[in-house]
Structures are given as C-alpha cells and as structure tokens.
Symmetry: C2
Subunit: 109 residues, 2 copies
C-alpha cells in the first residue's frame, strides 16, 4: 500500500473498519472485483487499506464529494458485496462518512 | 486492535497515514509514551491503527470536536514526537483532519 495523493480539501472519505469472520469462500474474489469496479466510479480519488493476519482491517476510500460517494453506495456490485459481507465475511464493522477539511503532508526530500 | 465505540456524529477524526524509515531507535518507546499521553487528553474518544511489517501504517484518532484535537496538537510530548518523527522515523506521511458526519454499524448478534 501507499499514501493516497488527494487534492486540496475539502473532499470526502469513507472509513470502513471491520473484523472478519473465518469464512474465506469468495472473499478475495469479491475484494478484487470491487477494487476494479471502484476505479471506474466518477469522483473516486483513491484508497488506503490493510488487514492484519488476525482479521482486523481499515479501508479508507477518498472521494471528490458526497455525490460521488453516493454513486458508489448505489453501485450494484458494491451492494451485493455488502449483503454478502454482512451474511458471511464480517463479524462486525463501522462505516464512517467524513469530510476532510485540512491536509498536511511530509516527505523526505 | 478493535473497532472504536464512538458517539453519535458529528465528531472529529485525525487520519495519519505514514511510511516508516528503517530507524528503530526510540520509536516504540515514543509510541507507547504518546499512547499513554493521548488517553489523558480531554475529548479523546479512541484510536484505530496498525502498521504492516513493510512499514506502511494508518492511525485514526477520534475526537469530540476540533477544540479537543487542538489540545492534542499543542501537547508538548506530541510535538516532540512529531519533530523526531520528521527527523528520523518517517519517510513520508499525510495527516488529514476530518469531520465525521454519519456512522453506520453492524455486528453479528
């Protein structure tokens, strides 16, 4: 993973923090499919994520505005992923929708 | 790690995404010290974080409001950690300050 290059704020982010069940069936495939799908959504700016071997994960997706995040919310593949996620892949999660107001960067020259 | 129990929005979060250098000296000690320090800051709600073995990390701290986040920004230990971080521990980072507007949860019964 790497740090997202995001534009000047304000922009929007969706913070998805989750704990997985032990069900593996179909999970990776859906992950890859939604990763491809999200790239095509108008206003998608990028994603930062990881999952620990113990199943705790953070996924932050960045969006131009609430409008673009709504396209993603209403996306059919995403809705299917969400339904299957609740049914089998996730033990618990929180999804937080936030507006980024300020951004500070640092990089070694 | 686990999922933070946060109050009804709105509240604030600071998303710190970073890539480490290979310098280990003092890093864990400072991490532990700031983790203890942050618990005592008025308005601190919790933190979700991780770092991969390759050195990519996400740290999201949650705050009651911008006021409480400013207490943390101005905290002396935190400022020292930041200065040392830029000098030796981090190759690059982004810090994003955001207002959480909505939160959705899910938990298997």
């Amino acid at each position: 993973m790497s740090i997202c290059q995001t534009p000047q704020p304000p922009y929007v982010c969706a913070i998805f923090t989750s704990i997985r069940t032990s069900v593996e069936a179909g999970y990776e495939e859906m992950n890859e499919a939604t990763f491809l799908e999200i790239q095509g959504i108008e206003g998608f700016l990028g994603v930062e994520n990881f999952r620990t071997p113990e199943g705790f994960g953070i996924n932050i997706s960045y969006w131009k505005d609430m409008e673009s995040l709504k396209y993603w919310r209403d996306n059919a593949l995403h809705q299917r992923a969400k339904a299957l996620g609740k049914k089998q892949w996730y033990q618990s999660y929180k999804l937080r929708i936030a507006v980024v107001e300020r951004e500070y960067g640092f990089e070694v020259e």
